[in-house]
């Protein structure tokens, strides 16, 4: 039995050379990840939760890092780590993946440039220097994160975004003046429509059958209309529509209230065509 791990990468923004950035992100994510601890006794496998036992890092043997080279004018010009604009007009691209032990893991050449042997050797020497730097940066970052977590300091993506930079799009929290909130709330309550009439007394049809209030119109028949209203893009529209529906309902209940005393009780939320209330002594009285 083995573990299967999946790495998803989301590209938020870039200015070229996604390969290099993604390779660094991927290997750092794998080094940083902790998997649940497992113990195997014969046929029995116990997977411990993070609460039971500290999660364990993956066994990463080495850290291959990609370095990209862009070629222009048939190999005359070479640019390391090209930007978006340089990538778009380059003739050829050479990607070398290497680890800090100077072991080449991948070489990929694309484009219309024919590369000479010493060009490739030169590129691999540049790669070795770059990879050494980057690997050191990664090690330091992982150590800092581990230290911060142990000591209870702040860690994680949100904390690593610098706040004072112009690219951070942070707004200072705005103070809200709450001096006259009580007055304003009182005004709103005074001007608001009174709530729909509260039915405190149940209406006793027969011993055992009572009714409190009248309920709202069944809106099952209006399902299509309500879906169309939800599609309206502006919230204002749907809010206005919602208010209209509410008004219609209150009007209906008020008309029904007027007829209440004279005619038999109308059970508006029932879908039965005929509603029969069974009464012990009299004949059943048919209502809607």
């Amino acid at each position: 039995q083995v573990w299967q791990i999946r790495l998803d990468m989301h590209l938020l923004n870039h200015d070229g050379n996604i390969t290099d950035a993604a390779s660094i992100a991927g290997i750092v994510a794998l080094c940083h990840f902790r998997r649940p601890d497992v113990s195997v006794q014969g046929e029995e496998v116990t997977v411990y939760t993070p609460e039971e036992r500290d999660p364990v890092p993956l066994s990463i043997h080495h850290m291959p890092i990609c370095v990209s080279f862009a070629f222009f004018h048939q190999g005359t010009y070479l640019l390391v780590d090209p930007t978006e604009r340089e990538e778009r007009v380059m003739d050829g691209l050479l990607v070398i993946a290497m680890n800090k032990h100077h072991e080449i893991c991948t070489i990929q050449s694309s484009g219309v440039v024919m590369l000479v042997q010493d060009q490739i050797l030169r590129c691999s020497k540049i790669t070795a220097v770059k990879v050494a730097e980057i690997t050191e940066l990664i090690q330091k970052a992982l150590e800092n994160d581990q230290k911060a977590r142990k000591e209870g300091g702040k860690f994680g993506f949100a904390e690593s975004i610098p706040n004072q930079r112009i690219t951070a799009f942070k707004m200072e929290s705005a103070a809200v003046d709450t001096n006259d909130v009580e007055e304003k709330a009182g005004e709103i309550i005074a001007k608001a429509d009174p709530p729909a009439e509260v039915f405190a007394n149940p209406i006793l049809h027969t011993p055992g059958t009572a009714q409190i209030g009248e309920g709202i119109e069944s809106s099952w028949g209006d399902l299509e209309e309500s879906e169309k209203e939800e599609e309206a893009e502006e919230e204002g529209e749907s809010e206005a529509a919602a208010f209209e529906c509410h008004k219609v309902e209150t009007e209906d209940t008020s008309t029904m209230k007027e007829t209440k005393n004279d005619e038999p009780i109308v059970l508006s939320d029932s879908e039965e065509e005929e509603v029969v209330i069974l009464e012990p002594q009299e004949l059943p009285r048919k209502t809607r």
Binding site: N13, T167, E234, G236, A240
Partner: protein
């Protein structure tokens, strides 16, 4: 439960029924019907061109959707050309469709964008700022050099001035406008027109 899908400032427009929307910084474009965008022709498939508009799918553009185009009189569109058009169809269920004519059949400024010039990408918020009526940035830039400018709602801007150097200067200023304050911009422009 409640799920946050967009972060930003809540804006309200009381006019015309009232609208609420979330104002946020975004570079990724999602095709919207009626938006005018700059597309790059990536393929010609029979009677239809495939355009890259920066969305999740390429848009289609029929060769007849140009002013004065007929089956005999086809527009001269090559792969790699830039097209300024608007979305006829754009929703999450279908491939977006573009046209280069308006409702009455006139091109109204849309069509194939000329040769040369420079295309670059900025955030959607900057485009909306530039498209606002009486945009200061455009007015100040036009004092500098004469130039042609096409703004696509998908974050793409095409600029063409008399020389390559002038074009690149305008490109750099427009890109920097993302982060410069009005004073910084006026200073930069004053330095440029001075030298």
């Amino acid at each position: 439960g409640l799920l946050v899908t967009k972060c930003g400032l809540l804006r309200h427009r009381p006019a015309g029924g009232g609208a609420f929307w979330v104002d946020s910084q975004q570079k990724r474009y999602v095709p919207v019907k009626g938006d005018h965008v700059i597309g790059i022709v990536t393929a010609k498939a029979g009677d239809v061109f495939r355009l890259d508009v920066g969305g999740s799918e390429p848009a289609s553009l029929s060769y007849l959707a140009f002013e004065g185009a007929t089956k005999r009189n086809r527009p001269n569109v090559q792969v790699g050309d830039l097209i300024y058009g608007q979305f006829l169809v754009a929703n999450k269920d279908m491939e977006p469709e573009m046209v280069c004519i308006d409702g009455s059949g006139r091109s109204n400024g849309m069509g194939i964008i000329g040769q040369d010039g420079f295309l670059f990408k900025v955030s959607l918020g900057l485009i909306r700022k530039l498209l606002a009526p009486k945009c200061e940035i455009i007015q100040e830039l036009s004092q500098l050099y004469p130039f042609e400018l096409v703004l696509g709602m998908n974050g793409r801007i095409w600029v063409k001035a008399k020389t390559v150097q002038q074009t690149l200067i305008i490109v750099n200023i427009l890109e920097a406008c993302e982060y410069m304050t009005a004073e910084q911009r006026k200073q930069a422009l004053a330095k440029l027109s001075g030298t």
